[in-house]
């Protein structure tokens, strides 16, 4: 464990919440007053795990003493879900982000944690975090901000004691200005501000353009399947592709060109999914063409036309109703691991194998 170093990860209403740089505000598509997603983008599962979880994995991997996730109540009322329960990761739903960050840094300081990373959950960067910390120490400054070729990133290393001396918002925004040393990242970065970035992230993971990989097992080169995923023997999966946990791909369906089907989805017979992401709990009906799109429930966002449509016919697209309860419960995994342990597990026949068993109706 890396004693004396922690991390605060924030999930705000706006993904640029921690900075005055408002150029990249989230512009999620909406239909009328209803947003496309009911969770922040960084909490949406992409190729098996959310971007937030992938970021936490990186912090945990370098052995930080403590990682705190602060979720602004306006952004998300629930605790984000993780596949793995981490002992030193805590999640708090807070009313206001900045006072909560200040309080968290004060707690760190009291507990002997001298330095902390601060990051917006949507600013995913595959940089060497310890190198960033060493840079910060050598620069002898109160806060060091990371930059990439597109400009400042919402990733800092701060001195916990010095961060409490004034307003934390201006403290963070001043980092890297007026000739102060900046830390440049040349590795993979994704600022998750739009569904387009989500789709790009999925494609990058499947293409292995970034370090973080798909969940589940690679059943053949480039095809990943998560637990309890079922693929009909007459369905075709063209690599690279991902079939999520407990999802079904029925007869004569085709999943191709960097497509990802997330957990508890169903792609019905004869449907083609091409260059698309089907988000968790979505059922896509028979004999459809889903191309260049992100689908969630009965909503569809088309990348090429940049338009969102709501499908009224449940036979065409809908939420998969049954697994939603399980998904909701799994979102409480950190707070109450014993509750998830009590969840009844769906018993699937052990004979289910990729491309070799018929789906039983």
């Amino acid at each position: 464990m890396f004693v004396g170093l922690g991390a605060v990860v924030t999930i705000g209403v706006r993904n640029q919440e921690l900075s005055q740089d408002r150029t990249g505000l989230a512009e999620l598509p909406a239909i009328g007053q209803e947003p496309f997603l009911d969770v922040p983008l960084e909490c949406v599962e992409v190729v098996g795990r959310s971007l937030l979880e992938r970021m936490i994995e990186r912090f945990v991997a370098i052995g930080l003493e403590r990682v705190s996730i602060l979720v602004e109540a306006k952004a998300f009322q629930r605790i984000p879900k993780f596949r793995t329960a981490y002992a030193n990761v805590t999640v708090k739903v807070v009313r206001d982000l900045y006072p909560a960050v200040t309080q968290e840094l004060a707690n760190y300081s009291q507990d002997g944690i001298g330095h902390s990373f601060i990051s917006s959950a949507n600013a995913y960067a595959e940089t060497d975090l310890l190198d960033l910390f060493c840079f910060h120490r050598e620069a002898r400054q109160a806060a060091t901000r990371a930059f990439d070729k597109e400009g400042p990133l919402n990733l800092w290393v701060v001195d916990c004691a010095k961060a409490q001396r004034g307003d934390v918002e201006s403290f963070l925004n001043d980092a890297g200005r007026d000739g102060a040393p900046k830390y440049f990242i040349r590795d993979y970065v994704n600022r998750l501000t739009h569904l387009r970035d989500l789709r790009r992230f999925a494609a990058d993971i499947l293409r292995r353009s970034c370090e973080t990989g798909p969940s589940g097992k690679q059943v053949r080169p480039g095809v990943w399947m998560d637990e309890r995923a079922e693929v009909h023997r007459r369905a075709r999966i063209v690599a690279p592709a991902f079939i999520g946990c407990a999802s079904k791909v029925k007869a004569d369906a085709l999943i191709t060109r960097l497509s990802n089907i997330e957990r508890d989805c169903c792609v019905d017979g004869g449907t083609v999914v091409e260059d698309s992401s089907i988000l968790a709990n979505t059922t896509v009906g028979i004999c459809l063409d889903l191309c260049h799109a992100v689908a969630r429930g009965n909503k569809l966002w088309n990348l090429e036309r940049n338009v969102t449509v709501e499908i009224v016919d449940p036979s065409v697209m809908r939420f998969s109703s049954a697994p939603r309860r399980a998904a909701e419960l799994s979102s409480e995994r950190i707070a109450a691991p014993e509750a998830t342990a009590a969840l009844p597990k769906t018993q699937m026949p052990e004979t289910w194998q990729f491309n070799s068993n018929l789906i039983q109706e």
Partner: protein
């Protein structure tokens, strides 16, 4: 010179659901009973379309083709285009940016010129040369 029936341009309703499609079809169906019906459906007003609407379009196309006519679409919004793509019917229709363009497209093909009097493998189609080359 052979004559053609005039091109019929009709505007589709805002809501192309079951009820909207049914009432629209009542208006359009008598016009589809003519010989060589040439129909342009202006989609610019469509705000909502579901599978009943798509089914109605397919039915109209089928009726027009039965009588050696055609049905073309104009001013299809991106949202309608996405739904038609999703349901795999987009490739069945000729789609134009405006109704005027769609109407002009009917007039471009003179029936006499389009008549194919020779088999497709006739020398005019270049197959003889291909055979000679092989």
């Amino acid at each position: 010179m052979p004559t053609r029936a005039p091109v019929i341009v009709m505007e589709l309703p805002e809501r192309l659901n079951h009820a909207g499609a049914k009432s629209f079809l009542n208006e359009l169906e008598p016009l589809l009973q003519n010989d060589h019906p040439s129909v342009v459906l202006d989609c610019s007003q469509i705000q909502h379309m579901d599978s009943a609407g798509v089914e109605m379009l397919l039915y109209c196309l089928e009726q027009a083709m039965k009588r050696d006519g055609d049905l073309k679409l104009a001013a299809v919004s991106p949202a309608s285009a996405v739904i038609m793509e999703l349901m795999r019917v987009d490739r069945l229709f000729e789609v134009f940016a405006t109704s005027d363009e769609a109407v002009r497209s009917f007039q471009l093909v003179a029936p006499a010129a389009s008549l194919q009097t020779q088999p497709w493998y006739a020398p005019a189609h270049g197959l003889t040369n291909l055979k000679a080359a092989s």
